[in-house]
Every structure is written in structure tokens, then in C-alpha cells.
Symmetry: C2
Subunit: 190 residues, 2 copies
Amino acid sequence: MSIKRGLPTLLVEGPRYGAELKPEFERRTGGTWPLNIGQVYTTLARLQRDGLVEPAGEDEPRRPRYSVTEHGRVEVAAWFAEPVRRDAPARDELAINLALAVSVPGVDMRALIQTQRAASLRVLQDYTRLKREPAAADDLAWTLVLESLLFNAEAEIRWLDHCEARVARAAEDRAIAAPEAVPMRAGARR
Amino acid sequence: MSIKRGLPTLLVEGPRYGAELKPEFERRTGGTWPLNIGQVYTTLARLQRDGLVEPAGEDEPRRPRYSVTEHGRVEVAAWFAEPVRRDAPARDELAINLALAVSVPGVDMRALIQTQRAASLRVLQDYTRLKREPAAADDLAWTLVLESLLFNAEAEIRWLDHCEARVARAAEDRAIAAPEAVPMRAGARR
DNA sequence: CGACACATGTAACACGTTACATGATTTG
DNA sequence: CAAATCATGTAACGTGTTACATGTGTCG
């Protein structure tokens, strides 16, 4: 959806060639999400099929320049007016990874969480470093995107810390509930 | 990747039919991410092709039961040993939506952010309510998944609040830098 | 038996990536 | 001119969804 609506959004400011849309989209989002040039053309073809964009009048031969249609403007306006992803959240591979790991015997949860935490911390530090660079201060859009990534990375690390505490406590509870797992004097119950 | 590795992970505990894997996967993740049954079969076919799973010995006619291969066990172990998504973050439609909106004339950023905030707040409240239900306390995996969703929703709302402040400040800065936009006495510069 | 439900599987499509093909333009 | 580059487009594949088809068992 990001690209399906992002490309018409860029065309609202005027007709563009496919090759112009890729760097423009990336610039507006701070280069965080590199855009596949092949996907630009296939998406434009689908958008034209669906009536959101259309080839603009003859300008250069063999280079179709696209402009947004009235229907496209309506769709872009709707994209800004309606909240995104109200419904089911996207599958989070990290959460699924941890959730399945806790019930598989032989997985060292502490090591798993620490490995993930180190990776997430590196990502967070990368973003923090990026934010210090002067280029970030200029562009409001890029600032917002970068801070979204920062907030998400911070939440992920807090969650991992939370998981570690939870898992440790669950292990203690299991040790208490199943005392046969710890050394005991002979004659103890069970 | 979640399903491509999640299904072999479930098979580590023993052979299963395709129809058993869907509810099992959903139960382990608290029903947060409903799994398409069609995808279970296509994924199992690909996993068999790639040597991660194989049909277990003849049990019931016309119902292939799958078990994980040695290669599959290695892949599952690697999934738990290596951190997920170290590289580029997934495209965040909400962040892209806002980033593009700030540079399109005529978009009411304040209304946009408030609409999104209300939707995110509803999601957060849904998760908070779910957490109070007794079913959540039992299952450690489900608890971790739910808290992941909670942490992410909270981060999203904090980010939206942050965006609102940023956008408001940027609007003020623009008003100061371009005073012709506000009523001025005749004869003022430009 | 007929209706229904269920498990399995496939087809069609959307969306995303990588790689390659084609034609035009630039450049040595 | 020949080579390199660029813009455009397509093909193949992975992953995900929806819908349909097929066979099997159950139940009234």
C-alpha cells in the first residue's frame, strides 16, 4: 500500500517519469526504504490499469510521463484521511520467533534474547548516529521517519528486556512447581 | 520467514498433519496472527522441496503427515541462534504516509495525526483489555506476544504525539521565516 | 441416500525482489 | 564507431490472500 499510494502522491505535484519517482520517493523517506525500480514500473502499470494514473500528453518519445487522474487524487486524499492498519497487525517475525522458542525444549532463551538485544541495540545506535548528522535536521519528513525508527527500536529493546525478566521468572516458577528437577534429599515427596 | 520456519519448529515436537499445524501455530501466538490454511499446504510443499520436512511413514491414507528432517532441525536451530531482521527495516506504511503528507499542500497534518492517534489508541486499549483476561496469564508465549503488541502500540502513540509537536513547531518556524503569510502593515518588507 | 463438514490441494491474483532484455543516449 | 550507461520493460520466483475443486467421512 505504501508504494501503491506513494507514487500517485508524488504525481500530485506534477507529471513525472518512472525513473524520477524512485529517487524522489527515497529522498522523501530519507533513503530508509530503497525502492526497487522494477517495482515502480509494474506498480505504475497496475495504477494505470486501475485508473489512478495515466500517461501525460506526448512529451518525449519512448518515455511515458505519468500524471495522477482525478480518481487518483481521491484515493490519495483517502489515504491521508483514513487511519492506516486499523485491523490485524503485521506478522512480527521476532515476536513469533520468541513465542515459539519458549515452548521448544533445548532453546537457551537467555542467549536468544541477548543475541537479539545486541542486534537491536546496534540498529538503535545506527539511528541515533544518523540523527546527529546535520542532514537530518533540515528535512521534516526525514526527521519524522527517523524518529519512527528510533521509537520502534527503543520499544523493541524494552520488550526484549521485559521478556528476559518474564522468562527468568517463569523458570523460577517451574523450579518451585517441579522440585524434582533440583537436587533433593532422598525420601522427599515423589 | 515466520511461517517458513514456524512450521518446521512445530514439527520438532513430532509429526503433524497440515490441518493440525494451523490451529497449533495460532494457539502458540495467541491467535494474533491467523494463518491461512492454503498457505500451510503450499509452504509445506516448498519446505519438502527444500528438504526441511518430509512425509512421515504411512499412517492414514490420503492424509500426509509431515515430520522435520535433520536439515530442518538445523534450520530451526539457526532461526533461534541468529538475530532476526538486522538489516533494512520493513516498510512502515504509517511512517511513509506521514512523511509524504508533510510535503503535499492541502493536507491537514493535525487532523491526520489525530485520526491515526485515535485508531492506534483503540488498538492499544484492545490489547490492554486482552491482557486483563485470565487466559493471557497462563501461556508464557501468548503473554510475550501480547506485550510485544502493547509495546509497539505505545511507541506508535508516543511517536504520533511527537510528530504533532514537531509539525506544529515547523509551522511556527515557517510563519516566522515567511511573514508575508500573516497580516502585516502596508509598507512592510516584500 | 443426500447434505454437510472437513482435509487437501490448486488456481488466480497482489506485491515484492532479482535478473535479464531492449532500445536510446552518451562517451571514449 | 564501439562501449558503456540509462530508462523501460519483462520474466521468474517467493510469499501471502481468496476462492474454488475434489475426495472423504459423518449424520440426519
